[in-house]
Symmetry: C2
Subunit: 388 residues, 2 copies
């Protein structure tokens, strides 16, 4: 029965460890300490929805050489044994007296000499998925060893996708594409938005998603007010624009793109924004190249939107994608992260239609040497209509 295995072969995990270790050498880091679902999955293949329970911390260490060392709650041992940890050490978590502190301390002390540096992601787009008190206790116990920021160490490796990774993201995109094709059967004038969200999630599951980690959207006349609010029960009405945005998951890999529909014919304002955003994405698909920066991508998307007579929204206009719904970099005027070959990215231009209402487009690409390769099925140039 224990047939589940990580979605990539053992050699892929060996290659990841080697790439991280090369970068650790470059950054002067003697061991990595990883705590988040994505980092743990990346290094070991450990994939589970059990992260939904915040009760227990999980630690994976990557020493300067050799395979990953898992220091985890005992409940995770059977699954971790099917993954790619060279050593698995467990404790009975949650333990109010010592929830992994002494085991983690002892394990790190054995891997890193007293003058050594332990890398932990501490920077932009990271977080510590463990109690802060645990970090304090382990850091104090391990002195004079130092904890240093390993954000770049992890991000420069994780951001380049292998072909099997690209294939899984393409598969997630195809699943979402098939569910999107079914939206005219799901939504029309009179359908409450929350019913649309529910039926769309079911469609994603039926089309092959294992999990639907993210569905968002909005609906309203001339566009929507924001893209992160829960659905309400208001029925779709003629003149509404409906947007659905999904992060469906296939074997731990996400898609993240959206689609818009007009309930009946769109207004001129919506049509203008639609044309501008379609053109902005076309421009990025045409012009984006490795060697540009995230800021350059933002400029292409916002300037093209503006050149077509629409007002681009504040905020980022695209980002990385892979084993979380969003990854770095962020297409903003302030992010100068270089875009590199085989990054998977979203193009997400958005524009104001009328004051307080917006339209957002989103596509997923892998950046090749000669430009973007689409992973999501390209949105139609003209806004499709529902209920006509």
């Amino acid at each position: 029965m224990a047939d589940w295995a990580p979605p990539l072969p053992p050699a892929a995990f060996e290659a990841r460890a080697a790439a991280l270790q090369a970068r650790m050498g470059h950054d002067g880091i003697d061991a990595l300490l990883l705590t988040t679902p994505a980092d743990v999955f990346y290094v070991t293949g450990f994939l589970t929805r059990f992260w939904e329970s915040p009760a227990r911390p999980w630690f994976v260490l990557l020493p300067a050489s050799g395979g990953p060392v898992a220091v985890i709650p005992a409940i995770g041992a059977p699954l971790m044994r099917r993954c790619h940890a060279e050593v698995i050490r467990t404790w009975p978590s949650p333990d109010p007296e010592d929830d992994g502190v002494s085991l983690l301390t002892e394990t790190l002390a054995g891997l890193v000499s007293e003058g050594g540096r332990i890398g932990l992601p501490m920077g932009l787009e990271t977080h510590l998925r463990a109690p802060l008190g645990t970090y304090h206790a382990v850091r104090d116990a391990l002195a004079p060893r130092r904890f240093v920021d390993a954000t770049a160490t992890v991000q420069r490796v994780r951001e380049i996708k292998s072909e099997p990774e690209v294939a899984l993201i393409r598969e997630a995109c195809a699943i979402a594409g098939r569910a999107i094709d079914r939206v005219p059967d799901i939504a029309g004038p009179g359908t409450p938005l929350d019913a649309v969200f529910r039926a769309f999630q079911s469609a994603l599951l039926e089309e092959g998603a294992e999990w639907v980690s993210y569905v968002a959207g909005g609906a309203g006349p001339e566009g929507y007010a924001d893209v992160i609010s829960p659905a309400d029960a208001r029925p779709l009405a003629p003149g509404d624009v409906l947007m659905l945005d999904t992060g469906a998951v296939r074997q731990g890999y996400f898609c993240d793109f959206d689609r818009n529909w007009s309930v009946g014919p769109p207004s001129d304002a919506v049509r203008r924004a639609q044309d501008a955003l379609y053109a902005a994405t076309e421009a990025a698909l045409d012009q984006l190249r490795p060697g540009m920066t995230a800021r350059d991508a933002h400029a292409i998307l916002s300037e093209t939107t503006r050149a077509h007579g629409a007002t681009p929204c504040e905020g980022r206009l695209g980002h990385g994608l892979g084993i979380t719904l969003t990854e770095w970099p962020s297409f903003t005027p302030r992010d100068d992260t270089p875009l590199r070959e085989n990054m998977v990215l979203t193009l997400e231009p958005s524009a104001e239609t009328v004051p307080g209402r917006i339209l957002c487009h989103e596509e997923n690409i892998v950046l090749r040497a000669d430009g973007p390769e689409l992973l999501s099925p390209r949105a139609p140039a003209t806004l499709p209509e529902l209920g006509t």
Copy 2:
């Protein structure tokens, strides 16, 4: 179109702030700094699946008096305006140069005097949902103000559920109950486990869940090896025990209970474990009272299981439940958290059937003065059979 509103009336959020502030006074805390989805939702009603994106940190402060202060990425402002923050301050996140650090520092400096103490949950079953570097920078900038652990401050308040909260959890349980009733139509001999997981998630959505944040389970002869692994494609076979465990979400409130089915008649070992676990839950339903501790609950469940000839599993045998899939306390031999009236809890006895295989039961209750009130529909005493 902006019809969505938090699931509880404004007075409920005022009462929460007041309860936290009373406890803060008791604990000598001048402001709370909250970073996790559950804590932010608890204090403001801010509910969104957008937390799935790890790109941005979000901060909610609760001063010693007055309402919550939200220091959040600009993208969240429209939704937060529909929630219960008295002040909303935003920055254009993600910003590689200053991702909220200066705004958070300035805001906290205005709320807490130099001799003051800022409480942040740092203990068991918490984590910091923000970059560690952000915490370091804000802490250093705010010295001599001190950051102290606010785990108990938050947990002693959040763990007592109001009647509207209990009603929402009961509703989530009812949704899951209806989906469970449909499992005989979903699963039988020959159905691959991953297809069962998909169809079960769709059933939960169709029955009224807004999100299916958690579905897990297992299937195998004489039980399953663990309860957190992803589903594989192996078809169910006669002699298997199938288990499905769900954290379906209704208005931000979770259920968390499971059910087991036997594919054809169960073995004697499975039948024995089933009887012992059913008896263990019955004993807890009969005996649990406010004033007992989490350890006492563990003792009732494990000792009854053993008295009925089965071997209880290591690990916790129940836990809190509410706005995350699992909350404290944990029913282990080491957790002496007092059980209090109107805590919502899971009873989760599990036992070994044969070496390496287990059976797990789980029910959800609210603890009343005179004992548990079931929120989940009670599992049948006898293991139901599929495909007969």
